[in-house]
């Protein structure tokens, strides 16, 4: 930036002078102080830029919406609630993991039906077992102990007395009663169910 005192400043120096004349080297600054032509050039460019700036500020549309401050000082609030979204997200993730591992998927409709079926099958099986027991042993154990039942309805002592081996008893009974195989005497039957011709009370006669 060496400039001779008698030579005018170059454009480069004019520009530096417009920005800040302190940045000019000593001789250029000295020349600028003394040379009215160079001084006028610098002042002119500065003036043009200044007028441009003023023109720009005048050409801006008027400010029609004054600034409104938020109701509360958000600094304190925002610092305090800053953790809330993070906490919310973490809680949601924890819930998801919890339900996943606790087998929430078992409660899906199809699996829930399967579970119900298993339960009802177990219940049915238990009922069937109870019915089978009742059929097999209709009376309580105590009753059998008193009667000494062997499952046929008669005690061993009774068979011994009659000499019964389990098959002769009925025959003996038939002999006693004169049974013809139906278990009843014919006279008795005739009495109970008279022949239709002998039935004087019958209205068909």
């Amino acid at each position: 930036m060496k400039v001779q005192n008698h030579a005018h400043l170059q454009d480069e120096h004019i520009l530096w002078a417009v920005i800040d004349d302190k940045d000019l080297a000593g001789p250029a600054r000295e020349h600028l102080r003394e040379c009215s032509v160079c001084k006028r050039k610098v002042e002119q460019f500065r003036g043009e830029l200044q007028d441009f700036g003023q023109k720009a500020s005048l050409a801006v549309p008027p400010f029609s919406r004054p600034v409104r401050l938020p109701r509360e000082n958000l600094a304190a609030v925002s610092h305090n609630v800053g953790w809330l979204p993070v906490f919310g997200a973490a809680a949601m993730a924890a819930f998801l993991v919890f339900f996943y591992f606790m087998g929430m998927e078992i409660m899906s409709p199809t699996q829930f039906t399967t579970l119900q079926n298993q339960e009802s099958l177990l219940e049915d099986e238990s009922l069937m077992r109870e019915i089978a027991e009742i059929v097999e042993v209709p009376l309580p154990e105590d009753v059998y102990a008193i009667t000494g039942d062997n499952g046929t309805g008669f005690t061993e002592d009774l068979y011994e007395i009659s000499g019964d081996n389990g098959t002769d008893a009925a025959e003996n009974m038939d002999e006693i009663t004169g049974d013809n195989g139906n278990g009843f005497d014919e006279d008795f039957l005739e009495f109970v169910v008279p022949d239709i011709l002998d039935d004087f009370q019958s209205e068909f006669i």
């Binding site: 454009d11 520009l15 530096w16 417009v18 920005i19 800040d20 940045d23 460019f45 003036g47 043009e48 830029l49 200044q50 007028d51 441009f52 700036g53 003023q54 023109k55 720009a56 500020s57 005048l58 050409a59 801006v60 549309p61 008027p62 400010f63 029609s64 919406r65 004054p66 600034v67 409104r68 401050l69 938020p70 000082n73 958000l74 600094a75 925002s78």
Partner: protein, 201 residues
Amino acid sequence: MKTEDNKNMSLKITALVEKARDGNRVSFQELVGIYQEDIYRLAYYRTFSQMDAEDLTQDVFEQAYRKLNSLNDPQRFRAWLYSIAVNRCNDFLRKRKYMRLLQMRTAQEQDFMDSGKDMNNTFNDRIEKKRFWKQVKTMLHKLSAMERQVFTLRFMDHRNINEIAAILDKNESTIKTHLYRALNKVRGQAEFFKEYRGSIS
């Protein structure tokens, strides 16, 4: 006299910032009153849209209100506020670029369509302003992002080198270099500047 006024104003702002930092809402509201038009203009120079500039101004002060406790030196309030505004505008412009890619109508286009409703301006005024902003846009498009930023802050927002360095978090010599390059490029637009010389009403 002017220096004395500036000093008094500076002291007043520092006092207001200190009170606002202690939770005094009225003090912050007073700071808003002092700076809202400057911030609005700053946003307009970057968006060229009244609607967007007003939205951005609201955003800037809301952000400043929330983050006021992070400001260590109350004397640097203005630079701090401007840096918030510049960053918000940059974010907005980046977003708008993507919106344009998606061919969505921006507020700038909406403003253009609504400009006929502005009954305060005469037809000639509107035409002249439109022409002015078109030329400004053409000129600024020739500059790099940093050059545009520095040029706008220096000659449109009327900030000094020291303050621009604080706003953009750069050193002064970097700012001067960018400014020199910007002036070198706009020098070709000398006619444009001359046209507006003395036309300020």
